[in-house]
Structures are given as C-alpha cells and as structure tokens.
Amino acid sequence: MDDVKPDTAAPSDRTPDTPRDPMVVIDGVNKHFGDLHVLRDINLTVGKGEVVVVLGPSGSGKSTLCRAINRLETIESGTISIDGKALPEEGKPLAQLRADVGMVFQSFNLFAHKTIRDNVTLGPIKVRKKSKADADKQATDLLKRVGVEAQADKYPAQLSGGQQQRVAIARSLAMGPKVMLFDEPTSALDPEMVNEVLDVMVGLAKEGMTMIVVTHEMGFARKAADRVVFMADGQIVEVGTPQEFFTNPKSDRAKDFLGKILTH
C-alpha cells in the first residue's frame, strides 16, 4: 500500500443515486439460531467503493449479517455473492474468497503468539505467497499508515486496545481486500481510544474502500457513510442516506431507536 491520494471522491461529494457496480449482493438470506430467526429475508446490495453502516439495537442480527458475508456464520437460504462470485462452501475456494474480504473484529483477535509485524505479514506470506522481504516492507508501510510502526516488534498483549485494533485493520489491508467488514470495531475500546480507530476508518472510506460497518458510532455514520442500513429483529427496516436517516427516520422502530440514543 502506497500513500496514494484518494482516487475517488469523498463520500460527501458523491451523489447517492449514482449507479455503482455491485460488490456485495445479499439476496433473500435467512438464518435461525434455534428458535430465534436472526436473519429474515435480508436483501442488500453494496456497490463498489460504497460505505454502508449497519445500525440497530443489540440482537437485531447486524453482527450475524456481517459475519455471514465471509461465511463465519453459515446461512440457511438465500445467496451472498462478492464481486460477482457466490460464496463457496467450505474448502480452498472459500479460503481464497476470504482473502479478498477483510474482517475487523470487536475483540481485535490479533494472533497472540506472533509479533505485530508477523501478524500483518502472515497472510501475505502464506496466502498471497509474497516473499518475506516484500511482506515486511508492506507491513512497515501499513503500520506507519495506521500509526503503530513503533510497536512492530511487540506482542499484541503489550499494546493498548486502540493500537491493537489499528493493527487488526492493517492486517486486513495487507491482503489487498476488495471489501472490508467491520464488526463493532470500537465497542471493546476505552472511550479515549475510539477516535484513533475511527480516524483510520474514515481515511479508508475516503480512499474509496468498499466498507460494511456494524457500529454504534453515530458520528462515524454521519461522517463516512454513503448509506445507513437500520436493522431490528433480524430484518432490514430502513435504508437511506445518513442525512435522511438521522433527520427524518421513516419507521417507528428507527424513530424509537434514535430517540433512545440521540437524547444523551
């Protein structure tokens, strides 16, 4: 990753109805956890370079949806395709597809027995078959970009939560992903560390990365999202621009949700 200038316009300059080529297509997806219908007939298309923020109360299925996109959760019916390719069953093709889909977890999940640098180079070396030297150079650049290059030789447990999460983002970026999934990336962080992570994410959005972000950070949704998807009880209740959604939510469920979180 070089320090290239953003090649696409900032989200605020984009017109939301410009047709984009689809990157992620979710079509008629259903899933149960036992009796609980966590995903009810979900349809969603995310265009190339689009930033979609998924909001909703806990238990609404938004994390499950995010995890289903790289098949960390299986689905019962419907299809999910990424860049025109349907999600394969288990095995090598699935691993190859996952390499193109970056995932950032709530609990960071850095490899605890590897140094920061080795966390970032593992995928490029083992999956992309890069040489150690190339991967190291790329890791240095990426760690610099997320501002943790000084910690490269430390182990994850020696870093703060915010630093760990930025390393996790660098680890995903090292694979050159087509789309990045963020599953509540700031929910496990101390408040003063939330912004350092959000800043990196806003930067990515500006550079034109396709992103699906499950979060409770309304500020990020306003600042970086092209579209907001509101989920409740396993359904997509409302989809709109951040502007529309925050100022004039259509559904009662969304009004109720926003009423509860925005009054504080």
Binding site: N70, A95, F105, F111, L122, G123, V127, A157, R171, M175
Partner: protein, 225 residues
C-alpha cells in the same frame, strides 16, 4: 549393599528406562498430535476415529497393551521390528514392541492434553485466521497449534512423567529396565528397603527434573492475552 551395586548394572538398567521413555515419548507426541488434529477437524469421520482411538486405548490397561504387543504382532503374526536372524532378535523386538505399546498408549493422553490446550485458544483466533484466507491446515499450523502447544505444556509434562514411570510395565515382556533389575536383585539377594530406595530414588532423579523443566517452560512460553 555396595557389593550389590557393583554386581548388578543398575545404571545400565536405568539407561534402558531412559531409552524406553525417550523413544516412546517421541512416538506418543507424534501420534498424539495427529489424533488431536483429527479430534478438532471439521471432518466428522476423522473426529469419530480420533475419539474411538482415545477411548479405547485410554481404557485399556497398559500391561495388557504391552503384553499383546509382543504376543499378538510378534509371536502370532510374526511381525518383527528387527532382523529376524540377529542373535538378539527376541530381546530387541521386546524393546521395540514395548516402545510401540508405550507410544500408542500415551498418545491418547498426549491427544487429550493437546485438546485441552486447543480449548485455551479463543475462538476468535481461528476466526481471524480464517478471515485472512488461511486454509484449515494453515490456521492449525500457524495459529491454533502453536498456541495450543504452549497452553498444554504443563499437562504434557504430567503425561511425560507418567510415561517415564510406566516404562516399568515393559518388564512384563522381559525388557531389562530398572524395575526388572530390582525384582531380580530382590529375588537373588535381599528384599531390603535399601534396594527399593535406590530404585525409587533413581526414578525421582529422572522425573523430578522433567516436572521442573516443564513447569518453567510453560511459564516462559505462556501466551499473554
């Protein structure tokens, strides 16, 4: 007492104990790792084979296993692990079959120690490994097993100590290790407490450092979370 020590090759007998323990430990680690991988694999038939092995072997008395290793494969099926024509074929086969039996038996315990180690690795580690595109085998090799090994060093130490002491069972098929020599001395010379203490001390000398080593190793290599 001194004349007994001079007359019998006690050190030689303990050397045999060490050799039995060393080679069967290597065998047990290899087989046990394979079993542990089978037991955590996504393939149901492998999982079932793995648990069948562990449950069968773990619940069979070691004495039976050691006895049958020489009685079944060697005497009945004539499977020799050495050159049949060598003058020491019987003795050598006894030693090698004892090593096989010890390895097969303790592999079940190694497998369970490793599996408990796998359980110390948070699920998120495997998810992160998969999400950067590592295959199942790669996630095991690069992420899960290295952490699982560190988490199972202490229980593996216990298995190794047990294995060292269990080498005495090889005496039932005439392998000349420490406990067989002890019975011999007691039979031929005297059943004194001293003889017993000498051999007991020998085992303590062998196993105590193993325990200390593994405890310090598990502390040093512990994965910080």
């Amino acid at each position: 007492m001194l004349d007994i020590i001079e007359k019998y090759d006690i050190l030689g007998a303990f050397w045999m104990t060490i050799r039995l323990a060393f080679f069967s430990a290597i065998g047990a680690l290899v087989i046990g790792t394979v079993l542990a991988v089978m037991r955590v694999s996504p393939v149901a038939i492998l999982r079932r084979l793995g648990s069948f092995y562990v449950n069968t072997v773990r619940n069979t008395p070691l004495t039976l296993l050691v006895f049958f290793s020489i009685a079944g494969p060697y005497y009945i099926l004539q499977i020799s692990l050495t050159d049949v024509n060598s003058p020491t074929a019987l003795v050598d086969n006894g030693i090698r079959w004892a090593i096989v039996a010890l390895a097969v038996y303790h592999a079940a315990f190694v497998c369970e120690a490793l599996r408990s180690g796998v359980n110390t690795v948070p699920l998120g580690q495997a998810e992160a490994a998969r999400s950067i595109g590592l295959t199942f085998g790669q996630s095991l090799r690069e992420v899960i097993l290295p952490q699982a090994f560190r988490g199972s060093i202490a229980p593996l130490g216990s298995v190794l100590i047990a294995l060292t002491k269990n080498t005495t069972v090889a005496s039932v098929i005439g392998v000349a290790e420490a406990s067989l020599l002890m019975s011999e001395i007691i039979e031929n010379e005297t059943a004194s407490v001293t003889v017993f203490l000498v051999f007991a001390l020998g085992f303590v000398v062998l196993t105590l450092p193993v325990g200390v080593f593994f405890t310090s190793l598990s502390r040093r290599l512990a994965v910080k979370r």
